[in-house]
Structures are given as structure tokens and as C-alpha cells.
Amino acid sequence: MNQVNLGTHAKNTWCIGCGNFAILNAIKSVITELIKEGNPAENFVLVSGIGCHAKIVDYINLNSFYSLHGRVVPVAEAIKIANPTLKIIGFSGDGDSYGEGLEHLLFAAKRNIDITMIIHNNRVYGLTTGQFTPTSPKDFKGRSTPYGNKEMPFNPLELMLASGATFVARGFSHGIDLLKNIFKQAISHKGFSIVDVLQVCVTFYNMYSYYSQRVYLMEGHNEQDFEAAVKKAREWDYNSDTKIPLGIFYRNDLPAFEDSFLKSQKSGIDRKEKIKKILENYTIG
């Protein structure tokens, strides 16, 4: 088990220079490490939505569920509840999970269910060729908003903190060591974890140099301090022109949802016998 080969026969079709490559490489290396540390490869399940980001599951030779646009989260939740021994990693886009499927994301955070969500936040719809998303800045000129969009962006970290997420982090597609570090901790965190990755889309919204000039790694930040986390999360609102903190904003160990759920099937329930018993309760008098 020292040689882990996570490649598949799928042809990679991301644009040259796309930030998704960094996410792919980082996650492959983290999973490889985890496998080497004794986590069986078959215990990982990758779930994705639809978008450029989502192709990642085709490129990793592990169990996967290539789902629908916006629906990574409920699929991931169910697999976890169905079998809590599995490690579930969801890959999603900003259109995917901050737009179409935002509600699911908030509820998963609320439940503090033990899944890891990695958001490829390129702040644009890549696959459908360049429309604005919930994290695009105001006045973004995309194909659906040629004269500039009229909405302020969401700050997804703030929303996640307000919803009950117990692990909240931000990475950058041009800082692979930080990504590896964050991914590993996110996956190891027991409870709902989200990593917002500022993933550069070289084709439709190339923020590479913009980000490079502004990102910095948080230091001396107390990850256990909710107030501090909120403050840090609000430092950059995905719109204004300020420094952009990276790293782990918040981490808290709380009971996870699936723990309070019934454990997976005991074998040997005699369904017929039990049905008869239940019917007796309906036979009154």
C-alpha cells in the first residue's frame, strides 16, 4: 500500500493554468497521505456538483458520485448518514453551492454533519462560459450581465459561521502547501467543514495577480474564538479592495449530526415478526 495510484483514464480538459489543477493535486496528495497513514482507499467517497470544478471526480480513482448542479451537499450528507465510517469529501463551485444549492449548504452546517466541502470559488460560472455568481463583485460584467451586475456578493464565510459550521477555512489555488494543510485538517475535523478556495479561472475571471498581491496567511489567529473568526471573515467582503486573509478561521469540536442518528443496521432484524408486533398495536380492544 505504499504505491497509491489515484489516476483514471479520463482525459483532463481543464484550461491550461486553471486553478483547479492545484486543488486536484493537493487533494490527491492529502488522500495519498491519509491512505498511507492507514485509511483504506475504499473508505473515501468524493461527491461533486456540475461545473468545471466537478470534473475532479473523473480524475481521481476513488469512489465517487458525480451529482447535479447545486446538489453536492444532500448526497454527501446521506452517504455519511448511511455509513458513518466513510469519509465524504464534496467538491463544489460557487455557482453550485453558493447559488443553486446554497440552502443545502446552510443546512449541512446547521446539522454539523461530518462532511468536508471544498468550494472551487472562481467567482464565475466557468462551464457555462462566464456569468456572474453569488461571489462575483458588484458591477461584474458577465455574459448575463453585460452592463454590470447590480448585486453585492455574499460573504460565504460569514454565512457559514452564522449557520453553525464548525470548521471554516479559506485557501488559494496558487498556494498548494496551504491547500494541502487545510484540506488535511478539514477532512480530519469531526463535523461540518468548509474550505472556500479562491480558485483562479484563467479564462473567464483571471484574478491571479489581483489575489497574489492581497492574500496573506493569518497568524496568531485564535481558531477557537468565534468572535475573532467572524471578524476575520469580515475583513474582506468579496467586493472591496483590501487584504485577503487565508487559513483556518474557525474550528470547534461539537457533537456531529450522524452521531445522534441511529447506528447503521444491526443485521438480523426479523422484519416479519416485528411487523406482526406493530400490527398488534393497531388491533385494539
Binding site: 471526480v57 444532500p74 443546512f107 447506528k263 443496521q265 400490527l279
Partner: protein
Amino acid sequence: MKDFTVLIGGKAGDGIDRAGLIIAHILSSTGYRIFIHRDYPSLIRGGHTFSVIRASERSIFAHREQIDILIALNNETLNLHRKKLKENCFYIYDSGQTKLDGDACGTGIPIAGILKEENAPELMKNSCLIGAFGKAAGVDWDIIEKVFKISIPKQVELNLKVAKRGYEFSEKLLDIEKIGQAHLPVLTGNEAIGLGLIAGGLNAYIGYPMTPSSGLLHFLAEIAPEFNLQVIHAENEIAVIMMALGFAYAGKRAAVGTSGGGFCLMNEGLSLSGMAELPALIILGQRTGPSTGLPTYTGQTELFYAIHSGHGEFSRLVVAPGDQHQAYFWSATALNLAWKYQIPAIILSDKTLAEGISSFDIEKAGKVDVSAPLLWDKNDLYKRYQNSENGVSPLCFPPQNNAVIKVNSYEHDEFGITTEDFEITRTMQEKRIRKKEFLLSEIEENYQCVNVFGNKDSETAVLCWGSNMPVCVEAAEKFGLKVIQPVVLHPFPLKQFSDAMSGVKKSIDVECNATAQMAELIKKYGFSVEEKILKYDGRPFSVDELESKLERILR
């Protein structure tokens, strides 16, 4: 008297449902077969609501318009329903609530006074009326006592005291014969579906409340610990269906329940179930539509929608059970078939079936079991979508050593990796569609997909589907007609249906919709109907009503 009807009515919030159920249990424990039709508005208090409790020697699943005893909690009930009484004076009413006019003759119970004397709270008025009913129907007091003791959670003794006062105050109106039959449990259709699902191996139920399917969610949530069931009330119906597919991926049998509006939201997941070949069982409880419609009333308007919902082409199963027995049997069977063929299955229920209550005989429902799907033999490389003659690929579930299990909403190759290749696309489309033919031949061979009731030699047949079956069977009896009920509606069991139709010269289509959907469906197969009896006001047919409609056609 071996077939009679009691109607109890009052305001929403008066506890009519509960009282009706206690009456049903009392009658059930004397050997009668029961059916309860519940009519209530979509509100919590106020508004007129009533239960029709019918008891018969025979197994029944439909109500009658004519009633033998009327129990009125208020004036409105009396006014609305008195004309249905067979015997003018056979009614019991709260004499404090209702002033009778000149020709007064029913049994007035001075409830307020009795409650006051017994120091009992207002909500015990129902116990008093049930007691009065017991006497009126000639039921032995000890039966009432027994039922009260089991079914009343709090203050049984006080309730019994009050009931006894009603019993004593009342007079005997009917002479109900005891019936020497087994005492059967009394269930809603939702409960029969729930038990069927469990018999078919259910591991998880995911729901979002919506009439008339909420009862299924409540029932399964309640009994979940018994079966290690995972019952989840999710954030919305999209999450519901997506979670069900997540469970299926992980090898757990999941079902979901909803009504029209929620089903709409599940369509995208349904199509994914078809594409990814992840079994999913959807209970679609129909009610009066379109849109929010009449949420607590019935309808049969989603036949075509169930068959055609979701984009793209793929195999599916649609069944519409007609009563508690079929509901139990087909819920288990549909779950097994969904897993055998790795397809979505839809159980078309409706308010009449889902919330109707009746006696349930598990022996009569038919034998069901959990049948294992095709599993990977662990030789060779695992291919989630391995092509095969009948389109079905071997399953395995994570974590599985040496297998990588990839499912995909995109078109994909046998490994589940995305493809846009035209040949693979064609092959995979055919694989998914082919399953329908194999499913059809299996069910036509092994199951009663089309039921024939009544006079099998009659040249006139009543055609019906779903919850209209029992009322059709009963009404048709009067005229010696044949009744044909396809319980599997898709893939259409043409062989069995043609057999059933052989010898039929005239057919009368009975449906609870305005466009005669089943008649439309069979048209495609060359069958036409001569007459249609359609009802689309939200109310189910009563036996008498249908009889008189049939009579008009037949004479």
C-alpha cells in the same frame, strides 16, 4: 345488520378523527371489517369535518352515502348530514349545542351537564358521545371499556365514567350482530405502505411534510427504532430525493413520500435516478390540484405525470395500489423491483387511500420478502455500469475493497467516467431503456398486474385504477359487472390487460379527474371506453353515488 355506517361530525379541532377511530376499534373488535373516510378542510380549527365509519362483514375500502347513525357535535353537522339517515331519528347529538326544531326525535345528550357533574374537561365530550353510540349500536359495555383502556393515553377512568354516562343516557337504535371473524388491525393506507416498505427491506425514509403523505413520515419516524430505520425530515423536497439517491449509492434502500408540489421538485432527482441507475422509491400521494389546490381532498391527476416526469428517457415502474392490501404488497414489491432493475419506482397513492382507514389482513395482502439485487461477484475489475443483456449491472457499495464505485449524472462509460462519445452514448441509452422490456416481461409473468373483479363473464366492464378500485368493485356488484383494475400502470401490462378485456363489449371508465387519464392511456393500445364517470371536486365516490351513476348509464 351486517353492513352499516356511522357518521361523526363537528368542527376541525374537535377530535373527530380520534373519536371515529375509537368507534372503529369498538366495531372492529366485534369482528367487523372497517373503513373510515375522513373529510376535513385544510385548517387546524373551525371548519366542518367529519368521519364516515363503515362496518361490514366483508372486507371494505369505500364509504356509503346513506348512514345508519349520525353523531353530531354541532348543529352544522346535523343540518348537513341528517338527510342521509336511513331512519329519520337515528342520530345522537349534544343537546347543549343544538336546538332541534319541531319534528325533533334524535337522542340528545346533555353533555355539558354530564361533564360538569363528573368534573371532566370539555374535550371528554367525545367520550360521552362514543358511550352513547355504544348503547345505540347495541355494543356490550365491556368492549367499550377494553378499547378505551388501550387507546386512551390519559385519565382513562374519568373518560370511562363520562362514556358510561353517555351509554346510560342513550337508547338502543340498531341491532348489530356480532361476527365470528378474527379481530383485525385497523390501518391507514399510509401505514400499510409503510409496513410494506419495511417488509421490502427499507433502511431509510426521507420526507418533507405534505398532505396526504405526511402520515407516512410520522408513522415511520415513530417506529424507526424498531427497524433501525433512518428517518430524516430534510430541508426541502430536492434534498429529500437527493438524499435518497445518496442512500442508494451507499447500498441502503430508501423511500421518499410527497404530493404533487413536492414531486415537481423531485423531478430532477428522478431523472438522475434513471441516468445513474440508482434505485429510488417515490410515494406520490395525489390530492386535488393543480398547484396547492385542495390540500386535504383527493384526486387522480398524476397518472401521466408519473409516467413522463423527469427529462430524458429511462425505465421506471409506476404502480397504483387500490386498498391497504395492495398498498402493502406493492410497496414491498416496488421496492424490490426498483433495486432489481436499479430504476426509480413510483407508488401512486392519493388522499383516499393514504388517509383512509380500514381493516388490514396481512395474510390476504400476499407474501413479500426482501430480495437481494444483483451483486458484484468480486472477480475482474469492477464496472459500475457493466453492460448486460437485460441492462442491469452488478452492484457493490462503498467501502468495497478492490472496487472503485463511480456513479455519474453525465453520460458515462462502463466505469462511470464521463463520456461524450456517440457510440457509448447510444449503447448506454439502450442499456437503460432495455430494462423496461425485461421488467415488463417479469411482472407480466410473476405478478397480478391487472386485477379482475366481479362478474368475470359480464360484457360490460368498469375500468378503474388506484383507490377507485374498491368502490367500483362494490358498485359493480349490484349490476353484475366486471371490474378491471390495472395496478401496474407503467410499463403497461398489455398482455394481462388484453386478457382482462377479452369478451368486454362495453367499458365504463371511472376516474377522479376531469380528463379521463386512464382512458387516454389505453387508447394508445387500441382500447376505447364507451362511457366515462369522472369526478373532480376533491371528494371520492361513495358506493351509493357510483351505483346511481352506473344505473343512469346502464338503463
